[in-house]
Subunit: 144 residues, 4 copies
């Protein structure tokens, strides 16, 4: 992967998802790192991400993973592209405490027609991942 | 799979997820079918499930899939159980129009320690699935 | 899916994999059904597919699943194409007895750049699947 | 993960799979590293792993991934255990040249009932992975 400067800024990405994905407004995302092909995205847990038993619900964790991977994809190919998720796979490993979550995404392939990445999701203050995800995003033809 | 009567009613399940998963309140779910091991769950698309380009966003589709599979699991093992998602896999197949979605979930294994199911997600009025998911849920030890 | 006549015959497909995938020679495959987008492929279990405890080993089951899905893909797009597997996901559900296995594959999307399918794998004489797989195959650009 | 000494040696593991999984005899595996929870396994490509076009076939790559993950699992829990694969997910990233492959497996969760790991597969001499896989193995009850 090219690890030079990301082709999207934190501000541009957060604005993009807030405008285009209304659900994002209920998630408090902030970037810890946004390099080309490598992203660390934090999600502060509000009541809406909770689940009975004081843990975080699966859909919120999946939303975080998809958002971090999508940011990694745009960091590599730029904002203009309309990358679409083609597949995602999740292993839920441990029940997280209601702490902020941190998603560490890395691209493992940047092709002409698709980009693939992996993401470890950690609960703040704990080095062992609570979830692991991998996914591929297809790129529009005019990038091919 | 035992296809006799479901061990949870629509009302009980909807109440359960509204109480325990706050995010669910933003989703308008209703059951078309709720048999033991076989569920058809409808999600009316509100603004929050939309995405730029008039399509539905991935996290909303994943939330629907997980909810339908979870209902299928509880239909088989009952409400008392605290089944936890252990893995989920998604193939996003077509960009849905902003129509209601229907998730058709079927269990393919009911074990002592885990339950596995698959789900086809359709856009109302179109027979071709827009997403396909499969996943496994682990059961608490006391059921084992 | 178009359910008209398959674009490949059993003979052509078996010859193709025997020629191009040497590992196939150790597998005794025969088609029960080969329609366009819908395939039922049988694998007779020889010693080589066994595993301690009298069950079948995972790699043999994965080889069967991939072969059945690949046949379904070629049944739809024809022999000339060089479809490549882009992802595969497996749920191993039950330990099979050392009986013949039957893989029932169905396509769920036929796109210009990719084809996606699912496959239930059964142990002969038992209606409950021992494995479930799903996967996507990318098509060469000149088909796009 | 505990990174102390592996609970299985290279010799024990290779003997185990040769005895219990006949298919393994057609694969030339050797360990580069075998620590607790962390494994690097090399597969020399013979004719049987080839595929038309001078590349390696998918089932051989899947066999390597499963074997490396299984070794990582046994390195953590020991030889006595009968760990069973419960799910595996593969992203095929690049067409490998007919070179030896190296599978680098790491465990990301060691639970009482299941162990989960990831594996990057590289073609010798190239730093970019040709395949990425993740999978979970269930442990027998008496370990729980």
């Amino acid at each position: 992967m090219n690890t030079s400067r990301a082709k999207v800024t934190s501000r541009e990405f957060i604005d993009l998802i807030n405008e285009t994905i209304p659900l994002s407004r209920f998630f408090d995302f902030s970037f810890i790192e946004l390099d080309r092909g490598k992203v660390s995205l934090r999600m502060d847990a509000s009541d809406i991400q909770l689940r009975a038993g004081g843990t975080l619900n699966g859909p919120s964790i999946m939303t975080l993973a998809d958002t971090a991977l999508y940011a990694a994809v745009l960091s590599q190919i730029g904002m203009e592209a309309m990358a679409l998720t083609s597949n995602l796979n999740f292993h839920f490993l441990r029940r997280p405490k209601p702490n902020p979550l941190i998603a560490e995404a890395t691209l493992i392939k940047v092709g002409k027609r698709s980009v693939t990445g992996i993401v470890h999701i950690l609960s703040e203050g704990n080095p062992e991942p609570i979830c692991f995800a991998s996914g591929a995003y297809s790129l529009p033809d005019d990038l091919a």
